[in-house]
């Protein structure tokens, strides 16, 4: 049998596929018909993954930069250089940027390298904080730092709430599963400031004013409360903290809600009624590159908790990770204050366990986020080790250039390499065994399918070498042993091993331990035996304000046409052609406006206009679309650096959730 099962490694859906490799190249990729999540489907990226895997744009050998010139070096030379350099800095000056695309084993070893060998807790996932917000809220509420539902159970949900996520473009197969549930009779309600594809496929679409998603969710929760639609038994028997939440809802008025969201109260009431009628329900929202803030996620969770739609089959509050191993990255402790499985540095029991297992005294002072350090002047950060990363460079290029030492570890060529003094190639995921944890906590094993190009080391081996060079006695026989160590240290992964995963078609969802030997599809309240905590919420709704001078609210959102800087897409042909289409028409970015707005401004498609905010101005091309409301405009993510510099002045609004919103006016030029 030449076809080998595997996992797609683009987005957080974790679709199953089969691959046929031959003589150093991938000949074929084909969907896995019976895979529990993808059920035989793949998206344009997944169908063309062989183009990425066959690209020649891989890093061919270790490189060391001397006097501005990059020279090829051996692994020994490069590893010695890196270990030596890092040892020369105090731990508080060293940072690690982990890759949300790398395998669990690689992420774990990087985390161990940072903490056990170089004694620093400054390790961040190379992606924004959005997913951490989701995990914080869900962990505090349920004890589970991950999606509470299961993608496999979407077909069992009678009500699906999609909040501000262009899900058919970001995680297409999850979008597909939601659509199919609707074709079979489930109700979909989408709440978004833009008419996305899933909005068109919904039973009901609430086209809200930009920046008002939290208010919209609160409005539904308020209707549930006021109309007596709460699941009183459930709230009484299984939850804590409802009073504080219901009190915060009482202060909202009909007028404030309608003014802020642009939606009449009746619509929210009808959503509340549909939610009540459904026996099972799930909520989906983007988590990661521009996820929601904790307050908003808190409201979403509380809405489902008060409706009794949590803790059983077909139910769940589901943050959707945009990258294949973003969930795994947090599971592996790639955060300044976390150990694996959301165990904290502040927990003496956990610290004792790790210290004893690793034979080192751990530094228990939490580190800082690498991005915070890079943004601060003067920066405490002097050395940085980066794995397979392209996002941060856009935000912090100047700060990174000022660092004393940067080491880059990756498989594909990447602009970040220009900023590194040492570049260390590592083998691609199909060249070694490794596991990935998708957005529904599903740990899947990807087995080796190709031999790595001559001399290129797999990630686990490379990281072990650096550790050994720095004096640590790491002796792993292979990635399976690394997973065994993860399992020993991580209660949620306790029964997971490569051997078990090899026989588990479709992977295993954690927690998988003595209590849950087959894994845990959905958060099971009865089994977990916990009380659900309502998320504390602020009761404050900061709405961006438009006015006479700045009459439009500009959303700056994910561009479905531009996926994570297109770094991977650029190495393909067909996905690049598809992802490039908008870029080629609008190379400097665009501002999307409604036809009425265009008429009022007397502009046509592709015409240049000047977008002016209270802070500054930016020239953009016009794109007319019916997907935005007349009082709103939309600019895509790929013009982000210009938007930060010239329209906003700082990146903070862009960290606040799905649609960063800025009041603007548009001037004809």
């Amino acid at each position: 049998m030449k076809q080998k099962p595997g996992v797609c490694t683009f987005c957080g859906t974790g679709c199953g596929h089969f691959m046929m490799a031959n003589g150093g190249a991938v000949e074929r990729v084909f969907p896995s018909q019976n895979h529990p999540v993808s059920k035989g489907r793949l998206c344009v990226r997944g169908w063309n993954i062989h183009e990425l895997l066959n690209t020649a744009q891989t890093i061919p050998s270790p490189l060391i930069k001397q006097n501005g010139q990059c020279t090829q070096a051996s692994y020994d030379e490069a590893v010695t250089h890196v270990a030596g350099k890092l040892k020369s800095f105090p731990p508080s000056a060293i940072g690690f940027l982990a890759s949300p695309r790398a395998t669990n084993e690689e992420q774990f070893l990087l985390m161990k390298l940072a903490r056990a060998v170089f004694k620093t807790n400054t390790i961040s996932l190379a992606s924004e904080s959005g997913h951490r917000n989701s995990l914080n809220v869900l962990h505090a509420a349920t004890g589970m730092a991950g999606m509470s539902g299961s993608l496999e159970e979407i077909s069992k949900a009678e009500f699906l709430l999609v909040l501000g996520s262009d899900i058919t473009k970001q995680n297409p197969i999850i979008g597909s599963e939601i659509h199919k549930a609707a074709q079979a009779g489930a109700k979909i309600v989408t709440i978004d400031s833009r008419r996305t594809q899933i909005a068109k496929l919904s039973s009901r679409f609430l086209h809200i004013t930009p920046g008002s998603l939290k208010l919209a969710v609160a409005a539904i929760a308020r209707s549930v409360f006021r109309e007596g639609l709460i699941d009183a038994d459930f709230v009484r028997s299984s939850t804590k903290g409802f009073e504080q939440f219901s009190a915060s809802l009482a202060s909202l008025s009909d007028e404030a809600i309608t003014k802020g969201t642009g939606i009449v109260i009746k619509e929210f009431q009808q959503v509340a009624e549909t939610l009540k009628k459904a026996k099972t329900a799930m909520a989906f929202f983007s988590s990661g590159i521009s996820g929601l803030d904790e307050d908003t996620i808190g409201y979403i969770f509380n809405l489902f908790a008060m409706s009794g739609k949590i803790g059983r089959e077909g139910c769940g509050v589901n943050p959707v990770a945009g990258l294949n191993n973003l969930q795994g990255g947090y599971d592996m402790g790639c955060a300044p204050d976390l150990l694996t499985g959301f165990q904290r540095l502040s927990d003496p029991e956990a610290v004792k366990k790790f210290s004893s297992a690793w034979g080192v005294e751990l530094n228990t002072t939490p580190g800082s986020s690498v991005y915070d350090l890079l943004a601060s002047e003067p920066s405490k950060l002097r050395a940085l080790v980066v794995v397979d990363h392209d996002e941060g460079i856009i935000r912090s290029a100047e700060a990174i250039q000022k660092l004393d030492f940067v080491a880059y570890i990756g498989s594909y060529t990447n602009r970040f390499m220009d900023y590194a003094q040492v570049v260390l190639p590592m083998a691609r995921y199909i060249e070694e065994d490794g596991t990935f944890t998708n957005t529904d906590r599903r740990v899947q094993l990807s087995k080796k399918k190709l031999e790595a190009k001559s001399g290129i080391l797999p990630g686990w081996k490379l990281l072990a070498r650096i550790a050994q060079q720095a004096g640590a006695a790491w002796n792993y026989a292979g990635p399976a042993e690394v997973m065994d160590e993860i399992a020993r240290l991580t209660p949620a992964y306790a029964n997971i091993s490569h051997k078990i995963l090899a026989g588990a078609f479709g992977g295993i969802q954690w927690p998988c331990n003595e209590k849950n030997p087959q894994g845990t599809p959905h958060f099971d309240l009865k089994k977990a035996g916990v009380t659900i905590n309502f998320a504390p919420v602020s009761g404050v709704f900061d709405l961006p304000a438009s006015g006479a001078d700045f009459p439009y609210l500009l959303m700056i959102g994910k561009a479905q046409d531009f996926w994570h800087q297109n770094n991977l897409m650029k190495k393909t042909f067909i996905p690049l052609r598809e992802y490039n289409a908008t870029l080629l028409d609008y190379p400097e970015g665009y501002v999307e406006i409604a036809p009425e707005t265009a008429k009022a401004l007397q502009v046509r498609n592709q015409w240049q206009v000047k977008v002016v905010s209270p802070y500054g101005e930016l020239p953009l091309a016009v794109k007319i679309s019916e997907d935005v409301k007349p009082n709103a405009a939309y600019a895509p993510y790929f013009a982000k650096d210009k938007i930060i510099k010239r329209l906003i002045g700082h990146s903070e609004p862009l960290n606040k959730g799905e649609d960063a919103t800025v009041p603007i006016r548009i001037e004809k030029v």
Partner: protein, 355 residues
């Protein structure tokens, strides 16, 4: 016409394996998915397995391959161009009639029309085809609506039909006959042919009960397609559901659109690659400079459907392009495989509420 005991069926494959690389249906144990791939251990072949998930067209039209490589250093340096045509004798053992029809469509298209496609011709040389009659249909099948099954009628070297303890082995070419004679197969009688026909009738009668996923009155819809009468709102409903993944073209046994890209390696030589492409993609028809005659997704869905059921017939294949395999139905992330689109057109479905 010959007979061979069921237990001995692999002797045919074994005999072929000395001259050909054998391809046959095998079930991947962990997932239960059927593939039609090169087989080294003939014991893996399972003739009772459902139609393979991936269409066997990849045997003659691979998903990605290099068709030539070139090297040019610039200036007055010479240009070295090396074609990379691949030729390998292949025996397709256990091909279903729908997939055979797909290969026949590809033959007429690649080897006919104005030019012969050399790349395809090389893949296609020295191919021995042993088809396997479907004595019962599978969940997504509808070959009875597209005149492509459940039994192959021509174009094979050998055709197998399971008639109980034996397989009926019909030869469809001199190559096929020679093999049967070489293996000294028992000659079959008229009663065996009658048994075959009754099995085919039984298979056809089971479509209603077993092929539950692809019920579509394709022939009825052909009328609307050829007269161009399908409501525009139906195409918008179809287009709304399209996730532009390209899967429908990739799994279709008769789809053959491809992309050409030059990929340069670090050593200075460039590979000209040919990969599967799909008219579902927006970039498929986009011209340099930005003009895109098929930009809205509903236009692309419309085009694909018409191409498959109408345009193809007059010139390319001389028969409808659809072979009734049903793959586009299970692989589609929306709900718009060909049978479903046919259903929407016939019923003029423009929204989910009308389902």
């Amino acid at each position: 016409m010959y007979l061979i005991r069921k237990d001995d069926i692999l002797t045919i494959a074994k005999a072929l394996s000395s001259d050909y690389q054998i391809y046959g249906p095998a079930v991947e144990p962990l997932s239960g998915q059927t593939f039609f791939d090169p087989v080294t251990d003939l014991g893996e072949i399972n003739l009772a397995a459902p139609i393979p998930a991936a269409p066997p067209k990849s045997v003659v039209f691979p998903q990605t391959e290099r068709i030539l490589s070139y090297r040019y250093a610039g200036g007055s340096a010479p240009v070295e161009i090396k074609p990379d045509y691949k030729e390998q004798p292949k025996a397709l053992f256990g091909l279903r009639s729908c997939d055979l029809t797909g290969i026949q469509c590809l033959d007429r298209f690649f080897l006919g029309q104005e030019f012969v496609d050399e790349v395809y011709r090389y893949h296609r040389k020295k191919m021995f085809m042993v088809t396997n009659t479907c004595v019962k249909p599978f969940t997504y099948c509808f070959c009875v609506c597209t005149d492509s099954g459940p039994a192959a009628e021509e174009g094979y070297d050998l055709n197998l039909t399971d008639i109980g303890d034996y397989y009926l082995v019909e030869s469809g070419s001199a190559k096929g006959k020679d093999l049967c004679e070489k293996l000294k197969l028992e000659k079959a009688a008229e009663k065996h042919r009658a048994e075959k026909n009754s099995r085919i009738d039984k298979s056809i009668s089971q479509f209603e009960a077993l092929s539950t996923e692809s019920k579509a009155w394709v022939s009825r819809v052909m009328n609307r397609v050829t007269t161009g009468f399908a409501k525009e709102a139906v195409w918008e409903y179809v287009g709304d559901q399209c996730l532009e993944c390209g899967a429908c073209s990739f799994v279709c046994p008769s789809c053959s659109c491809f992309n050409i890209a030059d990929s340069c390696t670090a050593s200075g030589s460039c590979d000209r690659l040919r990969t599967w492409d799909s008219c579902s993609y927006e970039g498929y028809s986009r011209m340099a400079g930005g003009h895109n005659p098929r930009k809205p997704v509903e236009d692309r869905r419309n085009k694909r459907f018409f191409c498959k059921l109408s345009y193809s017939q007059s010139k390319k294949y001389l028969r409808p392009g659809c072979v009734g395999c049903g793959r586009c139905n299970w692989v589609c992330p929306g709900d718009i495989g060909l049978p479903n689109v046919a259903k929407y057109i016939r019923r003029e479905t423009t929204s989910r509420e009308q389902l």
